[in-house]
């Protein structure tokens, strides 16, 4: 059935003596350390989703959060405590792929539904996919495929610099694959320890490679350091690309520095046309301007709750059945800017539209009503950028 998330039809089921009058959600994410801003944004998004869902359905939703401290082991421990002690029905969260992969493995073994809110690693819906794991965000390869046309246009030769852990490694592979498929060459690639305070030596190498274009696949706030050292070395005029841009990272720099980015992929951002109401609500919270992490938090909770409601159960196998192949029709479609969204059966990827953006000129960068420093170049349908299930290495 093409599911219908619309409140009206499900409302009836709810009142019809369903056992689901309360749902409890656990979210393990980074609320301390350098990634706290990401984790907290996801929590804000999740809270908004709960607000909306509670008014839509007659169900009490309860969110327990805990700090993963960005460490897989700690994350797992907290997640386990939420499940065993806090009795949460399903799990969401994680800002980094390492934590997400660990939670995913455990969730699969323990029959717990898990939405890895902030992870983009291909492994999650590839080699390490799991029965009860559903990724609400776009994968690295989706983003890489999105920007590849822009990159191919910009230059024939590329140098890739990437953060040396799952996310960066799979991103580099995906981008390189996309470039080479289009007949371009990657003249060099450098793994950069993450986090790192010194990008000078890698920038030197990028410079020495002579490549007119550089892919800066650097995670989190490190992207700021890398950018400022690119400027210091005087090669900011080369084409710079980033496959997964989070606006927040650039907001920490001055606009001049932020304007060096030429090609970037994005799951969503303030520049995307859609979800104005959502952006407004985030801004009103006053803590941060809206960006992708808010939306991801929202989607995770929204999709989890709706699946449970559809299944009339929070048992992991039931939720799985309610999600696999499900065509999303909830408000998130609109927030995302419209387009097809569905949970693919073979790998549990939420297939969804992606975007490419470029930085605006300094004076065109808006700060009001919320920061808007980039402009959308292209929008891609999910099916056009998602790799086929057979290529993912996932067999569900």
């Amino acid at each position: 059935i093409g599911g219908d998330d619309d409140g009206s039809s499900d409302g009836e089921t709810m009142n019809g003596g369903s056992s689901l009058d309360s749902i409890s959600i656990g979210m393990v994410t980074s609320t301390s350390g350098p990634f706290a801003v990401f984790g907290n944004a996801a929590i804000t998004g999740a809270e908004l989703a709960i607000e909306d869902l509670e008014s839509e359905y007659n169900v009490e939703i309860d969110l327990s959060t805990d700090d993963s401290q960005l460490e897989p082991g700690t994350g797992l421990e907290r997640a386990r405590a939420l499940v065993t002690e806090g009795d949460v029905d399903f799990l969401t969260g994680a800002v980094s792929s390492s934590v997400a992969l660990r939670l995913a493995g455990w969730a699969t073994d323990n029959e717990v539904t898990y939405f890895p809110t902030g992870s983009h690693s291909d492994a999650l819906t590839g080699g390490e996919c799991g029965d009860f794991v559903f990724r609400p965000s776009a994968s690295n390869s989706m983003l890489a495929n999105s920007i590849s046309s822009g990159m191919v246009e910009a230059s024939d030769e590329w140098f890739l610099m990437y953060s040396d852990y799952t996310w960066g490694q799979t991103a580099a592979d995906a981008v390189q694959g996309a470039l080479e498929a289009a007949g371009n060459t990657v003249v060099g690639r450098e793994a950069v320890p993450f986090p790192s305070d010194d990008y000078a030596q890698y920038v030197n190498r990028a410079k020495a490679s002579g490549a007119p274009a550089i892919g800066v696949l650097i995670a989190g706030l490190d992207l700021r350091k890398a950018s400022s050292q690119i400027i210091a070395s005087g090669i900011q005029d080369r084409t710079l690309a980033m496959h997964q841009l989070e606006d927040f990272v650039f907001w920490g720099m001055d606009k001049d520095a932020a304007s060096i980015l030429d090609v970037a992929g994005q799951v969503w951002g303030p520049a995307v046309d859609g979800g104005e109401d959502f952006k407004q609500r985030i801004t009103e919270q006053g803590e941060m301007d809206p960006y992708i992490r808010h939306l991801l938090g929202y989607i995770s909770v929204d999709q989890g709750v709706r699946a449970a409601v559809r299944a009339e159960s929070t048992a992991a196998p039931d939720m799985r059945d309610a999600l696999e192949g499900h065509e999303v029709s909830s408000p998130i479609v609109d927030m995302k800017g419209g387009g097809d969204m569905y949970w693919r059966e073979g790998d549990h990827q939420l297939v969804q539209p992606t975007y490419t953006v470029t930085s605006r000129s300094t004076d065109a960068m808006a700060d009001d009503p919320h920061k808007d420093w980039f402009s959308v170049e292209n929008k891609f349908a999910g099916d056009d950028v998602t790799r086929p299930v057979e290529e993912t290495g996932c067999s569900l």
């Binding site: 301390s32 350390g33 706290a36 040396d164 010194d198 000078a200 350091k225 210091a232 070395s233 920490g252």
Partner: protein, 344 residues
């Protein structure tokens, strides 16, 4: 410590301790570097200069630690926390009070120095003459406290003030371009090293502090107001840490995690140089800086020559300081210029 006086003699002695193995090692090193220089001349020069600059930054980070460790015998793990505070104080001065960078560069180290005084008076004073490990443990605890306090005041995310206008961008050094701000850091670091070196080896203040760490009670019997001097010394060590943090925050921003991030690296540098020798720390800082920048180039050049691409190990620079330390300590168990019996 007194032998820091004649650093030249010690250097000569170091060089004169030739063994066949050392000679072979040196030869291999020269060959590898030569190969890298031939294969990738442009990059080699870039990296050599980049390594020098980075090395001086490491020296700046480790100098205060070397001072407090070598002269007061205190294994100050809180050095990293003080470094971090330097960053936050700079941020506070610039962002919250709107003062210019130059003012922050003065205020932050003094502020951190004052925190150092408090630490010295309340905690460290009780630990002189005890086993160095105890100092390490106490300052470990202090680090947790300072880190958490910083998180309380400034939050968990990184903060960063604006870089002064004229220090942004790069400076063209003909063969390569280096961030102007980095060059500025190198200059500050060089001046600090020279000042500290003079203070310790040439002044009466330095003499009394050196005596104090060897036998505090006796130093007082001789008429030295030691508590005051040690406090002054720790003020200095902390202020230098704070200066390092101040220089850093402008370039990279700072978050509470910095407290533990840099202290290990600083320890590595000091130990490679040899505990008790400021000169050694300086040399070690440069050595590590160069190694971090040049080893990857050397490896990739070697990979080209031999055709074995596995030699070009990715992401190796993170581990290089530790590898350098292992090699140096296995050859010279007390580091490059460490003294027998000091902190063993």
């Amino acid at each position: 410590m007194s032998s820091t006086l004649d650093a030249r003699t010690r250097m000569q002695r170091l060089l004169s301790e030739r063994s066949p193995a050392a000679l072979l090692g040196a030869l291999a090193g020269v060959l590898l570097l030569g190969n890298a220089a031939v294969q990738k001349p442009g990059l080699f020069i870039d990296q050599a200069i980049g390594g020098l600059v980075y090395g001086m930054i490491l020296v700046m980070i480790s100098l205060g630690l070397a001072l407090v460790l070598g002269l007061m015998g205190v294994v100050n793990f809180a050095h990293g926390a003080l470094f971090m505070l330097g960053g936050y104080f700079t941020y506070a001065t610039m962002a919250s009070y709107g003062l210019p960078f130059w003012a922050a560069l003065l205020i932050a180290p003094i502020g951190v120095g004052i925190v150092g005084i408090v630490i010295e008076v309340v905690v460290l004073r009780r630990l002189y003459g005890k086993e160095p490990i105890i100092g390490l443990l106490a300052t470990f605890g202090l680090t947790l406290m300072i880190e958490e306090a910083a998180r309380f005041v400034w939050g968990a995310s990184a903060v960063q003030p604006a870089k002064p206008e004229f220090l942004t961008g790069g400076t063209d050094l003909i063969v390569t371009q280096v961030g102007t701000y980095r060059l500025f850091t190198v200059a500050v670091s060089t001046i600090s090293v020279a000042g500290v070196y003079y203070l310790i080896t040439k002044t009466d203040f330095g003499l009394s502090v050196r005596a104090g760490v060897q036998d505090g009670e006796m130093t007082e019997f001789v008429g030295v107001n030691l508590p005051l001097r040690f406090t002054a010394m720790f003020f200095l060590g902390s202020a230098i840490a704070g200066l390092g943090g101040a220089l850093r925050v402008v370039e990279f921003g700072i978050d509470p995690g910095a407290a533990e991030e840099f202290v290990l690296l600083a320890f590595v540098v000091v130990v490679i140089g040899g505990v008790g020798s400021i000169f050694g720390s300086v040399l070690a800082g440069l050595l590590v800086g160069w190694a971090q920048f040049l080893v990857p180039v050397v490896l990739s050049a070697l990979a080209i020559v031999t055709g074995v691409s596995a030699i070009n190990v990715q992401g190796i620079s993170d581990i290089i300081p530790f590898l350098v330390m292992i090699v140096v300590l296995l050859i010279r168990p007390r580091g490059l210029f460490g003294e027998e019996g000091l902190l063993e």
